[in-house]
Symmetry: C2
């Protein structure tokens, strides 16, 4: 697949250099818009407008939607006013909003100037919704029907207006105040008599979302209810737009990326890695590193306060990394499992005791088995003596139990307190577990080795 | 939302206890199948068949698909042969396959015995495909059209057969050997004249997948091309089934869970957390912990070999956790960023030098800024002397540069070698970076502190 695109890219550069525009148009017209956008991302900036202009008009708009914002900006700056208007006319309102959100103010002004007044009003409406809300995600291009329309009326309406709608397969029945009454799918329309009225065939128990709902909740609803589109209503239950499954899929993927970044102690961004400047990347990483570094300093303090014990048994120092790492890994496993389960809805706050009990038993099993292997290794290979081996292995069991406890409860607690549980992943858990493991270590050493 | 379901659940238990089955049926009939399944998961096992039987027949089958396999098994065991047949008749083939895949052999036998012979053949076909392949995911219930059919013929066919199809909105045009020729959407049908023929309006440039393609690639295609369904073809390009967006969304979510688990050094499973036994959970975690523990032992060896240096300057010990943790966190940030970018297709192998150069600059910035803060802290609060502070801060800068290098290159290398890059996340990177940071630390200490 990758190979295929690479080949076509070379071919296109060749045709471009040979000025064989007609041939180029022929090839591009046969391709999928997402693939063309991927190729345009690779060709030199100055040739971008040239190739773009070769595309048939309708395909051009579809390719435009699939390009990243940098490429879009280059094109918009190269467009004549007429060209800009032509592209804008082909865009769905939600796509237009996506484009605008990424552009500098001057470009936004130019875009809005060349948009149809009706559409401009809608764009401005959508821009007013909070960034991560359902309202910011929706499109206003849906098919609306009235309750006394017949199936035949509905088909007539779809045929007349459907070409500009993002989906025609789910239609919404509203009353005179735009209040949402029900939904009718095209499947319903096709499988019913022409004379049936909407109110007879519509589904009235409609899953919908509010304009101010978080987009993550919207994606979760798609996931749960397997819908093709979801209607977006305002506080008065008036239908204002719809969100289609492809947008929900993008949200799902973005939210996953965000969670993964948070789990690695990175401030989430929606920019692709290679598009971010070094300074911006640094900004997403440095604050967390600083916070974690300062927290880790406390662990150092613990070692300092046991300095004399260490000096008496310097061999103990060499097991610190293993104990800290194992604790961190155990805590990380537990926290990531719980964070993911919370986000998938597999567990909730009320399961906290079930989780603790389960993690305790898993920790006990992991602790015993790792300790046994470790004890054998210490006695047979490292030959460090029974008492030191015992100290290390007991510490290991205790540390693992603490680590799994901390790792599994902190994310649940964070969620309960309204924070994002994803932050309570390996880096933070490791820092906490490090301190605990050292305190346990030195105390057990004190008891067993009498230092 | 959560609140709402809780309320209904209590209500249902009450009605059940009061034997108000009629009222119960009324309430349940108004609810969404996914919500009913969620509620049934909470009621006592022995009451499950009772409540299930209250549901209207068609809704019952939809609820059945939404339940987890344990509940499905309970029901199947409680069903009479007639009931079983009724449910099976309502299932799409891909859903039936999903159910069967999770059942013990005896239940599978009983299910297949009561399936329509035609469907049984299809189920057996699908069961033959490898577990994670497109073939195992597809359904065979699609609308197929012929190239000389008119729009009117197509509508007739959809009206006649559409009720049992998983989607009717995308129809596939095949030749007499079932070879895929093109696709026609219902939108195309609605917006064209009744007399138009399929070959005039069909899209011939069809994105399709092969039966043996990995389901992850299938999900990526949905993500990239915003499709409602994708046709599945065999090696001879014959159409054998379709996969719909809702299944692709589930795959996407499963793949994300798998990646996240791998990044935390857990063997992925598809069982929800609370459904797994303690032993099974232990099995997913222990091997990785053991591997990492053994690797961490090498870090201990490094400390041992510098024991005399440490004894001369015992204060150095107290900075080991901070240096190791910071290194691990920096490496983790880089590796997770790269793993995710690889999986989203934002970077590929050919970008490896761009990545290294970028991470080098980010690491340098992070290193310098963290070292400055740390130096100030060491001099002002810890009062450890210039030379020791210098040793710690220089080590920090070097460690961060190494950590970001290792963290960013290993996932790319793993992918290049055909391994899953997700394994090269924090736990492994931390273990490697720990060793590097200690070697750097003791060498710099040797140079600066002359120990």
């Amino acid at each position: 697949m990758e190979e295929e695109i690479m080949l076509e890219e070379e071919q296109i550069t060749e045709l471009l250099d040979a000025k064989q525009y007609h041939k180029l148009k022929e090839i591009l017209s046969e391709m999928n818009e997402a693939d063309i956008a991927a190729i345009l991302a690779e060709i030199p900036e100055d040739k971008l407008p040239l190739v773009y202009r070769i595309l048939p008009k309708e395909l051009a708009a579809e390719v435009f939607v699939n390009m990243d914002s940098d490429a879009q900006e280059i094109l918009i700056r190269a467009f004549s006013d007429t060209e800009l208007r032509e592209v804008l006319d082909e865009l769905y309102v939600d796509d237009a909003v996506d484009v605008i959100e990424e552009m500098p103010a001057t470009v936004v002004k130019r875009i809005l100037m060349h948009t149809d007044p009706e559409v401009r009003k809608s764009i401005n409406e959508i821009l007013k919704y909070p960034e991560d809300s359902a309202g910011s995600l929706m499109t206003i291009e849906y098919v609306d029907l009235k309750k006394y329309m017949t199936v035949e009326d509905a088909f007539t309406r779809i045929r007349r207006t459907g070409v500009d709608k993002e989906t025609i397969y789910v239609c919404y029945v509203t009353d005179e105040n735009r209040k949402l009454l029900g939904l009718v799918t095209v499947k319903d329309l096709l499988l019913n008599e022409y004379s049936k009225k909407m109110f007879e065939i519509m589904e009235t128990n409609v899953i919908c979302v509010n304009t101010l709902d978080d987009k993550e909740d919207v994606a979760d609803k798609f996931q749960k209810y397997d819908m093709m589109a979801v209607p977006v209503v305002d506080q008065e239950h008036r239908l204002v737009g719809i969100i289609t499954f492809d947008d929900a899929m993008d949200v799902l993927q973005d939210e996953n990326t965000e969670d993964i970044e948070k789990m690695a102690a990175i401030t989430p961004t929606d920019k692709p890695y290679l598009k971010m400047s070094v300074i911006d990347t640094w900004k997403t990483r440095f604050p967390w590193l600083l916070l974690l570094m300062v927290s880790a300093a406390f662990t150092g303090k613990i070692i300092q306060s046991f300095e004399s014990a260490l000096q008496a048994q310097i061999v103990l120092t060499s097991f610190i990394p293993m104990l800290m790492d194992t604790g961190g890994n155990c805590g990380g496993q537990a926290s990531v499992t719980i964070i993911r389960s919370l986000s998938l809805g597999d567990i909730e706050y009320s399961d906290v005791f079930k989780v603790i009990w389960k993690e305790f038993r898993v920790a006990f099993l992991c602790g015993i088995t790792l300790a046994v292997v470790n004890f054998a290794k210490l006695m047979l290979f490292d030959k460090v003596g029974v008492m030191v081996s015992l100290t290390v292995c007991l510490t290991m069991i205790m540390t693992i139990i603490f680590a799994k406890f901390v790792g599994s409860t902190l994310p649940i607690l964070a969620k309960r307190l309204g924070f994002d549980p994803a932050v309570m992943a390996s880096p933070f858990i490791t820092t906490i577990v490090d301190a605990i493991s050292l305190i346990v270590y030195f105390n057990i050493a004190g008891l067993i080795l009498k230092i």
